[in-house]
């Protein structure tokens, strides 16, 4: 079972307004996209688990023409709060790089 980092050419994350984070998983080939973009390891429950958010609020947007899976989820705490550690949420993608895809 490959890891996210092994089947994507780029994975990135960023704030989408002060209350949301969005991640783009850019798969490295059509084959990788077809095989893994719908993996249960990336479903709402799994992503909710990684980021401690309600799975019902995790949104998936497949963009097949670009071989991209976009995943958006609400920030656990609003941007710039007392325990802020990643203001732009630009490091958040790193926590899914080692998820194993089936």
């Amino acid at each position: 079972m490959p890891k996210v980092r092994e089947v994507c050419r780029t994975v990135r994350s960023k704030v989408a307004g002060p209350f949301w984070v969005t991640m783009d998983l850019m798969f490295d080939s059509q084959e990788s996209y077809d095989l893994y973009s719908q993996s249960p390891a990336l479903n709402a429950e799994a992503i909710g688990n990684v980021y401690s958010v309600d799975p019902a609020e995790v949104m998936h947007f497949p963009v097949p023409k670009l071989k991209v899976l976009k995943i958006s989820y609400p920030r656990k705490t609003p941007q710039g709060g007392v325990e802020e550690r990643d203001l732009h949420s630009g490091q958040q993608y790193t926590y899914i790089l080692d998820l194993e895809l089936s």
Binding site: M59, V68, Q91
Partner: protein, 468 residues
Amino acid sequence: MSNNSDFKSVKIYVPEGSLGVGIFPEEIGVAMARKPDAIALDAGSTDSGAAYLAKGVSKNNKRAVKTDLELIMAAQAEAGIPILIGTSGQAGGDLNLDWTRDIVLEICREKGYTPKIALLYSEQSPKLIKQKLAEGKISNLPPLGDMTEEMIDDCIHIVALMGPEPYFDALDAGADIILGGRSSDPAVIAAFALWKGAPAGPSWHAGKVSECGGQATSAATGQRGVFFEVHEDGFDIEPCDPAFKATVNSISGHLLYENKNPWVLTEPGGELDVTNSQYEQLTDTKVRVTGSVWHPKPYTMKLEGASGKLFQTIIIVGITDPNVLAEPQVFHDRMVDILHMRALSATDAVDGEFHISVRMYGWNGVSGVPPKEGTQTPREIGAMCVITANTQEMASEIAKACNPYFFHMPIRDGMEMPSYGLAFSPADIDRGPVYQFELNHVVSVDNGTELVRMKMIDTAENKENVDA
């Protein structure tokens, strides 16, 4: 707005992703040679946090903003085409807008330019927002709940996100330079095309793709510019510098960026739908986009409010002590406990009214999550103690009480007292308020200009206004 039936095409030059990041001067000549009808760009965003709205200050330094303004104002003065700038001064509050206005007026004086300047203010009074709340005109956006009067009172400044309509009014009034308060980036960039009667879907889509300047091209940076032409069927877009390329992937991919839904974009007064957009590589460097659709909706403006209710003091130490490096997590947990007890015993702080966090950079400073068992330990750790309290005085008081413990605490009792590496004297740094966005709500309005105030400055006729 101009008459739709006259419309053939309109060309817009977007010189950079955000005013002040640094225009490449050589691009301006290339872009102006293509005879744009307007220059449009934004000057801010919420991405860097609430401080800029709360304090009414720019994120960019004055010299950088002035240099970019000098470049585009020179082009404006020569070509006689309007400049449209949205979200002035990073946050688009009244103070941010006035700061930008003063720089523009300074350049007018220094260079002898005499433009008509329109100022579009979109800051809102707490009183008016409370009235809208009482009238049932406010709705919440996920993930926040309903707005309360307390939330409104917590905000230092509140702005409403403008669509293109106030820019239409400024253009109707003959403005050469339009400085907008908080505005949708795509709206500012699309405004001139829409005003000229260009089709809404392509205009908005071109505005969205161009909001970060050249980022949507192979230049891959907002320091570069883009140029687009909206025509009856769609729009054509290319970088300003022919050394770069717009490609089908780079242009279609931009809808992913900082945007939670890549297909439908909610904007003031409607939604841009790019689900069925077609992308065609016209030349090596230029892409044609067709099929983008604009769905008008009941007019709403997004509200943004910034608070600063809590205050922080920080202390930073560097640690190379092998005893700590062998067990960073043990050290962290013990430190948090000891600092908490020290705050309670040595200050008047009440439990529950302050917060202490220790961030172990080099170990898990960014995630805050304990690493897996067996994770390799680092060569150094930078530990930052962040103390939060209801007043700056209390945060500072707690930091001073914690200071000796923070840099002297051994990992176990009975060890020789260590002194970790402080970099500064005094070691504690009052950081000021914790600025946060409070509102995630929209207000229903009769039209796009209801909550916006426009002020015109005619620098040719009203010299005293220039000196104001």
